[in-house]
């Protein structure tokens, strides 16, 4: 895995936080630096992932789809099979181990798609911690099922109504909570962003993905893959999938960002490519942000709540500047097409975030030869996206069902109040 120089990756990274947060970050960093080279700690982490989350996740060959597309052999790294339905849980379980070592009793988290919030709520329930999850009000609307479960799991979900009401605002609000609670609370940052040591720490835990890909591809393909493709929101699943291959230059690493509706400002979430992102410092770190000339962070759009983020991992910003990671993007339409194609051809329901990886990966695989191998990181499953997908592929019965369900739900509520 890549290591920072004093929290920096090239020009990106750092730790630009209000002074009040510094001690917690230093404590975390010291703890992390003391553990990360300890094989026993890694083993403890791997065992936890195995016993609770079902790792290793498989590497699934897409035989029919690869044949149909006529290019490289496509394989999916199945992070959708994780407990909670996405790769997010890897990082969260790892941080859970750190929380136990710090003896803190409360965790907070920001969440976009709700997957990281759900994973955090799950970890908190399992470890007996209090949890508060910050989520943009707009994202709550898009992913209410995740909110429903977080609440059932006993977490406090706080809707953030400032600004565009998405991930960026939720992150701001979580930082504000942390500033007030830092001595008893750990902030479970959900992606490879934020102030040092988070980008490094999150990438470290997520690198379990690429460790497995490496071993599995040797066993299943008999060689390393030619290319690894992952969607890029904050960058944690991508860093997870790329981590073990950074030094192996024969393996192409491709990050697919959310192309959204168009390249117009506010209609996409592309930070790495096409000169859309500019170096900036916000939310505790330096990276490529979508921002205007005055340094105000921009609005973003993606059909996938989890990619709808204004910053990006400083590690990916650096690797992409270095040419080691190839940035790609996929539009909302390309994404729903890839979503449908995977589902109908291979019987796997991807998260809309992950479907960006599919769209990008399929496009590239078509240009390659049948003796080449592309691994796409399927970061999560699509169940959570049912409401969004239903809007993209409207079914009359679904609408009618929702109408009836709304009535039933109202009745159940009235009955509960009656008690």
């Amino acid at each position: 895995m890549i290591r920072s120089e004093n929290g920096y990756f090239g020009e990106f990274g750092g730790r630009f936080v209000p002074e009040i947060l510094l001690p917690a970050l230093t404590e975390l960093e010291d703890l992390f630096f003391g553990l990360r080279d300890d094989p026993a700690f890694w083993q403890e982490f791997v065992t936890l992932c195995q016993e609770f989350s079902g790792r290793p996740t498989p590497l699934t060959p897409l035989r029919r789809l690869s044949k149909q597309l006529g290019g490289a052999q496509i394989w999916l790294k199945r992070e959708d099979l994780n407990h909670s339905g996405a790769h997010k849980v890897n990082n969260v379980l790892g941080q859970g181990l750190l929380v136990q070592r710090m003896g803190k009793q409360r965790v907070i988290a920001e969440t976009g798609a709700g997957q990281h919030g759900l994973a955090t709520a799950i970890m908190a329930a399992r470890l007996g911690l209090e949890a508060t999850i910050y989520m943009g009000a707009e994202d709550i609307e898009r992913q209410y099922s995740n909110v429903f479960w977080m609440r059932q799991l006993g977490s406090d979900v706080v809707g953030v109504t400032t600004g565009a009401q998405t991930l960026k605002e939720a992150l701001d609000e979580a930082l504000r909570d942390w500033a007030a609670s830092v001595e008893t609370t750990h902030y479970v940052l959900g992606t490879a962003c934020g102030p040092a040591p988070f980008p490094e720490l999150v990438s470290y835990f997520q690198s379990i993905i690429s460790d497995e890909i490496k071993e599995q591809s040797m066993r299943q393909m008999g060689c390393l893959p030619d290319e690894i493709v992952a969607c890029v929101g904050g960058g944690s699943n991508a860093m997870g999938a790329f981590g073990a291959f950074l030094e192996i230059s024969e393996v192409n690493l491709v990050g697919v960002e959310a192309g959204g509706i168009s390249l117009e400002d506010g209609k996409h979430s592309i930070r790495l490519s096409q000169n859309t992102g500019e170096t900036g410092i916000a939310q505790g770190y330096k990276t490529l942000f979508l921002q205007n000339d005055d340094g105000q962070l921009g609005d973003t759009h993606s059909i996938a709540a989890g990619l709808d983020y204004v910053g990006v991992s400083p590690i990916l910003a650096h690797l992409s500047q270095q040419g080691r990671v190839i940035p790609e993007s996929a539009t909302d339409n390309e994404v729903t097409e890839a979503f449908s194609l995977l589902m109908k051809t291979e019987g796997i329901i991807p998260a809309l975030e992950s479907a960006h990886g599919l769209a990008g990966g399929f496009k590239r695989a078509k240009q390659m030869k049948p003796d080449q191998n592309v691994v796409i990181n399927l970061s999560g499953r699509g169940d959570k996206d049912i409401f969004t997908v239903a809007r993209a592929f409207p079914q009359r019965e679904w609408t009618e069902f929702l109408q009836r369900e709304a009535v039933r739900s109202t009745e159940a509520l009235a009955q509960k109040r009656g008690h």
Binding site: V17, P18, E19, I20, T162, E169, R176, G280
Partner: protein, 254 residues
């Protein structure tokens, strides 16, 4: 200029540039000066003000819609610094707008406009240190923050890099509970004074005359900001200035 050590308590108040509008900012600042406020923070509004409470977060959001920006702040500074020589103006901003403007150019322009100090909550001391020669040459004082959980050696480091005054964050967190000014707080202040001769500006949770009286004799500056912005938001700049005036008059002499 900044107060000297153990000088009588002075009030620092606040303007968010563009809130409620650029014109209103000028009037509001005049009102504050008239009320006897000695220091005024000119805050560049930012899209992600992580170190601010909800009042300022919302003010920033509004300000951005009304033309608040780095350039607007510099323009306003030029006007108000000239107009109110008795007031010390401090630039308050998150780092990114300044960074995007270009730090070197920004510092020069701010200094030329008459700004005396700078508060940038997400700019850590390690990143400031290399800029000290430039800032000193320009007479632009970095006012760094110390918080209740800052370790002694780090207070030392921060004190060394600070100029003009040190901003003492009164409590943990930007929102929430009332601040207490009792023994614990006094020990905290005393601890900081061990590392510096600079005057101390206390911020967060200063909302009443009672708070100001409690700070009298303990700090040189009280940052009276969110409460003022709420008055301004709810009752207009004029009423807010009057309230500020009467509250300043209520301060007991030490």
């Amino acid at each position: 200029m900044f107060p000297t050590q153990y000088e009588d308590l002075q009030i620092m108040s606040h303007a968010v540039i563009g809130f409620p509008s650029l014109e209103e900012n000028e009037k509001a600042i005049a009102g504050l000066a008239e009320a006897g406020v000695k220091l005024i923070e000119l805050q560049v509004p930012f899209s992600d003000p992580v170190a601010d409470g909800h009042t300022l977060v919302n003010a920033c959001y509004e300000a951005l819609k009304h033309g608040g920006s780095v350039q607007a702040t510099l323009n306003l500074a030029t006007t108000v610094c000239a107009r109110h020589p008795e007031v010390t103006f401090v630039l308050m901003s998150y780092l990114n707008p300044l960074f995007r403007y270009g730090l070197q150019e920004l510092f020069e322009k701010a200094s030329a406009a008459g700004i005396k100090g700078m508060i940038v909550p997400d700019w850590p001391v390690e990143e400031i240190e290399p800029w000290l020669p430039t800032l000193d040459a320009l007479g632009l004082s970095p006012i760094l923050m110390v918080t209740p959980n800052t370790a002694a050696e780090r207070v030392e480091k921060i004190a060394k890099a600070s100029r003009g005054m040190i901003y003492v964050v009164s409590r943990m967190g930007v929102t929430g509970h009332e601040t207490q000014w009792g023994e614990k707080f006094q020990n905290y202040i005393a601890e900081i004074r061990k590392h510096t001769d600079l005057p101390l500006a206390v911020g967060f949770g200063v909302r009443t005359a009672k708070d100001l009286n409690a700070l009298t004799g303990k700090a040189e500056v009280a940052a009276f900001c969110s409460q003022y912005i709420e008055w301004q938001r709810d009752e207009g700049s004029e009423v807010a200035a009057n309230k500020m005036k009467s509250i300043i008059q209520e301060i007991d002499s030490p």
